[in-house]
């Protein structure tokens, strides 16, 4: 049964860089968009709030698979074909969609965390004559980040799982690579083993994300002089609030 296991590993390792880049790139874009959109939703200007709302609800409300197809199809048609033709181009489209989609969920996390910082903290900052930018950067955000990190942990695991969707637009990531083996009759009988390997890989990614985020949580909590957050072992999907 384990005769071909080298081949399976080899194939999955070929796809690994794509999955890793999709995850890392997606997370980077998610964080950037979450902060921009999350802070914009608290803006005093009505048009800014409206535009951000449209982005957030549009991406949260429609299906990720549809968004993926929309961008994979629309980008080549509207901006010339070059981008979608290569594996790297497909990866880039995937990263953009992963980032836009999860950034919409992340925006709500950032907004909620900023709003949860107590108003007395703001009063204190105003009393100290800090400018609005200083208030945000030195008082509100360091405290809000402590609140955000557990939710971002869940969101990032969600994102890592979503990298498997890139197989829909033929990005050669690990699931696509494993799935291609199905066409070979000799391997078809060992699909159980192949998919089991895949599941283990994704599980390891999720564990890695959690380990990194726990460290960040501890650092962020220490920075604002709090004991590390005690949290229930519980995941949410980032669907509510």
């Amino acid at each position: 049964m384990f005769d071909n296991i080298d081949i399976y590993f080899e194939r999955i390792l070929e796809g690994l860089p794509f999955t890793l880049w999709a995850a890392v790139g997606g997370i980077a874009l998610t964080v950037a968009l979450s902060f921009v959109a999350g802070i914009a939703m608290l803006s005093r200007s009505r048009p800014v709030r409206f535009v951000t709302r449209v982005y957030v609800e549009g991406f949260r409300g429609s299906s990720e698979v549809v968004q993926l197809f929309f961008f994979a199809v629309a980008v080549p048609i509207f901006f010339g074909v070059s981008l979608g033709a290569t594996a790297e181009g497909l990866l880039l489209i995937g990263v953009i969609v992963l980032g836009l989609n999860h950034g919409a969920y992340g925006a709500e996390i950032v907004r909620g965390a900023i709003q949860s910082v107590s108003t007395t903290q703001l009063d204190g900052a105003i009393a100290l004559n800090l400018s609005p930018l200083q208030r945000m950067w030195r008082v509100v955000l360091p405290q809000a980040v402590v609140e955000m990190l557990p939710s971002f942990n869940n969101l990032f695991i969600q994102l890592v799982k979503s990298t498997a969707l890139l197989s829909f637009i033929a990005t050669p990531e690990i699931f696509k690579k494993a799935d291609e083996l199905r066409a070979v009759p000799a391997f078809a009988r060992e699909l159980g083993l192949i998919y089991a390997l895949e599941l283990v890989f994704y599980l390891l990614f999720a564990i890695a994300v959690t380990v990194i985020m726990r460290v960040l949580e501890r650092l962020a909590a220490r920075r604002v002089g709090r004991p590390p957050v005690h949290r229930a072992r519980r995941m949410t999907m980032g669907v509510s609030s």
Binding site: A74, F79, K161, Y195, T236
Partner: protein
């Protein structure tokens, strides 16, 4: 740079309508499985039977941290031929699709139910013991009637999330919205352009957004756990 064609946008809706019925069917059946199985998981974990508890915990963590797409393929390509040989291919796909969605989301909803059960005050258990109710009766007559209504809005969120994940089933030839756009529409009009995908996205949005507003209102009224 090509032009956006509204006629192609409107042409997509008949195909989307065909797929929408399938999508909704899978969402509802999948939710039913997810709720019932999630409740069962939560109750079993509450009983804290030594080995069963750890196994179930490991299973839930594995399912939650691996992609639904991989799980669908595991069920479709590995489990199916052995277990469901007697059914037609359509029934097999229905069973595989509903099971994959149901089991995946049950692992999320079980945590919601668990929080709901934990939120029932200790005194309720004591009272049930004082009245010497049998354990099963305490669950069905005292604990669950208090735990379940409070978590219903939270479960609604998972139904909405599931609705948006049904397109994954298009990969095992379930004729949902995405499958319809990708095959039937593309075959009739020479390829599914951005217009058709935009129409499909809007359809998802038009259905899921009002539902999530409704769930948010309900949450505010019932009080979430």
């Amino acid at each position: 740079m090509s032009k956006w064609r509204w006629d192609r946008f409107f042409e997509a809706f008949p195909y989307i309508w065909d797929g929408l019925q399938v999508t909704i069917q899978f969402t509802l059946l999948g939710s039913l499985v997810a709720y019932l199985l999630g409740l069962a998981f939560a109750v079993i974990r509450q009983l804290q039977i030594p080995v069963v508890d750890q196994l179930l915990w490991a299973f839930i963590e594995l399912v939650r941290s691996t992609p639904l797409l991989v799980q669908i393929f595991v069920l479709y390509w590995i489990v199916r031929p052995d277990l469901l040989g007697g059914f037609t291919i359509e029934t097999q796909r229905l069973i595989v699709g509903v099971t994959a969605l149901g089991v995946h989301y049950a692992c999320y909803t079980s945590e919601v139910f668990r929080a709901g059960i934990d939120a029932v005050p200790r005194g309720q258990w004591d009272a049930a013991t004082a009245l010497s109710l049998p354990r099963a009766r305490a669950w069905t007559g005292v604990i669950l009637p208090q735990a379940v209504p409070r978590v219903l809005p939270a479960l609604g969120n998972y139904t909405i999330a599931m609705f948006k994940e049904v397109p994954l089933l298009s990969s095992i030839v379930i004729l949902d919205m995405v499958y319809q756009v990708k095959t039937a529409y593309a075959a009739d009009t020479g390829g599914a352009g951005p217009e058709a995908w935009f129409a499909a996205g809007l359809t998802f949005l038009a259905l899921s957004y009002p539902c999530s507003i409704l769930v948010r209102k309900l949450e505010r009224r019932v009080g979430t756990v």
